[in-house]
């Protein structure tokens, strides 16, 4: 359903993968650029244990094509936050994204040192929905 909500162009370019971590009892839905698609949320039972994680350029492209998709996904998954991972070289891009998300009603991005990013090498920021208007 998440893939189906994407504009055709975005659906071609985005890859959605679901990874379940049984020790932490969390499910990561990771969205990045690519053509592989597999999506099955079997283990997630509570919104607080589902993490929607975007690779920065994938989210950038998604918002360029249709900014409503993100809102739709959050509604479908009953989530109020997203995670974005990035590299040191993308510092300015992530700050620009933070400003953009703030205009869409999300927080200004806090540092992630714990789950879902403890194992990953990437740097990551967490953005929460700041009000019900989004």
């Amino acid at each position: 359903m998440l893939i189906n909500a994407l504009p055709e162009e975005a659906a071609q370019q985005h890859c959605v993968q679901v990874v379940y971590d049984d020790i932490q009892d969390v499910t990561c839905i990771e969205v990045k650029l690519g053509d592989k698609r597999s999506l099955s949320i079997e283990h997630a039972t509570m919104p607080s244990t589902v993490f929607l994680v975007f690779e920065l350029t994938a989210l950038h492209l998604l918002l360029e094509l249709d900014s409503n998709v993100l809102r739709f996904w959050l509604n479908v998954l009953d989530l109020r936050e997203i995670y974005i991972y990035f590299t040191e070289q993308q510092r300015d891009d992530i700050l620009a994204m933070a400003a953009k998300l703030q205009k869409l009603g999300m927080s200004s991005g806090s540092l992630v040192l714990g789950v879902p990013a403890t194992e990953a090498h990437e740097l990551m920021l967490r953005f929460g929905l700041s009000d019900a208007v989004f």
Partner: protein
Amino acid sequence: MRILYVTNESPIFPSGGIGTYIGYMASAMAEAGHDVFLLTWTYQPQHATNNYWPFTAERTHICYLDSRQVNKIFPQGPYNYAVSAILSDAILKCAADWHIDVIESADFLAPCLTAFQRIQSSSLGKKILCSTFNHGFIEDYNDADQVASSVYTQNELTSERQQLRISDLVLTPSVSARSRLHQYGIKENIVVMREPYEFQVLSPCDQSRKSIQFLGRLSLSKGVDKLILLANLMHSVNGLDDLLFIGKEDRIPFGPEPRSYVLKRLLPQLRDRVHFKGEMPRQEALAQLRAGSFFPVLGTAETFSFACLEAIDRGLPPVVMSNTPMASFFPADIKEYLLDSNERDIRKWQRTLESIADNSATIVSRLQQYNQQELEPSRVAQKVGALYDTASKKKKRYSSLFSGRHVQGCEVSVLVAVTEVGNIQAVVDAMCAQTIKVQNMLICYEEGSIEASMLEYFRLRLPNCILIAQPLVGKPALYNRLLQEVRTKLCVLLDEFTIISPRFLEKTLQAYNGAISRPQVVLANQYKYGAKTGKIIRQFMGDHIHLLRNDMTLCALIETEAARSIGFDVTKRNGEDLAWAFWLAFHRSGYRHIWLPEFLINCFRHSVSEEGAAIGGHVMVREVLRRFDACHTKSEQFAMQALFARQRTE
């Protein structure tokens, strides 16, 4: 890595589960090649010890506290906040002297709250990882014990949650403990990390006994009420030969003493089969446990339970509810032996108990095998070491990316809204005394509130100060006007009663520029004069207690855009607490703050709010919550209305 543990409970001063955890964890970390250090405190003068295991004397620092001294320094309390402030010097000194990479604090009593804030508002934030292990909040135990909390206690217990909120990492030992943190709105950077336990498999479970044994505080929070229910159920089916209670007898709020509570609720025929052993040394208590006896662990405030593991190790089948931390000791293939916490038909519990009795040998054997592997100390230490290593490196990378703000004093405006003369001259004098020159100052005042001679004084002392006269519009409108006029990135909101210390701008700006977390505001401690004189060290920002009361002022170094986006309700012009609604809206907008734990703000307000102003403040709080995410559904709005109604009766 060099890890400093901060806790009042350790094998040196043992008390409960936290001390047991420190013993296992620190020794396993040391065996894994890490350098482990301890900072602890005691109220017993010259509480000497020769046994520092798992630490060494050279790597242990003991702070000797005197509660009278603590109360003398911070007479208004809250006590835990005061201890945290007092310990912070020693913690930072140890961290520096021992070149510490990671500070791991217990959540209990929040000893590192102030130290963590000092680290994160200084250059130390780049070097030290601040971690808290969640052993369980006192508030959860109070709830489970069904005891009332005073306002003082409620305020005090916010400290534990605040420490978790500012920690770089929060370690919690079970998934259900994490869920409890979520209920407090603590959701970031939490990692489930099992506590270590060295299994010895001291005894198998050869046969099931018609016996219940309990080890722990005799209290509701440890599940004594549920244990009695189970005892009655078990006896009505198979009969029970005896019940043994070992542990301190705590207060149960249903009568004068716990023993009568237990006896009164047990089946009459069971009452003479009960043995109360009271508190005894741990090894002596463990020696009382008999393989095959039922061992109920039914507390609702636990995050983990060493007692449960010690019983399993000695061949006792544990009786545990689903959706509790103890349920995580059960592997998937034997979860059917958990009592269903959502079950409403107690006959099904009876059947589960019968099933446990019939299969106790298999259950205990599987539990021993599974947990021996899962909780093996070297395995846990390896995971914690890897976690701290990754997080430390990542924090340094964030630091190199995000801590280099270079905002200067010329990009700060001081905004003063004046509706009466108050201490306005001192407010202006304080600007002139700043260690960073105030280059932008705007004073918006109601006509008639400031005499012409005083306005001349302002011009004389602060030639660049912009003075804006307004009709009688009220303070919110003055602030909004100031926020419209300001052109700098940062601002400070003041009024005629708030006098900042000479280093306010220098220190808050330094913290703003250096903080890795890129906050939108830097908050500081305040000293109140007047109706409620004293040092304010409690901090409610982001906690549910902030919905009930406020003592924050508007004074802070804040990004202008953030302040402007929140703004002020111009209809509230009768002395309502503008700061309360403002900071609630700030937090709920997703903005971040850091706290600089230094007394940089002086508030002079001699009058107590009038009744109308107080209720008006509550109305504003309700409106903030309605606007923001607390009230998604009609039922939540209904609950908010009820909370408001209750507030009005206080």
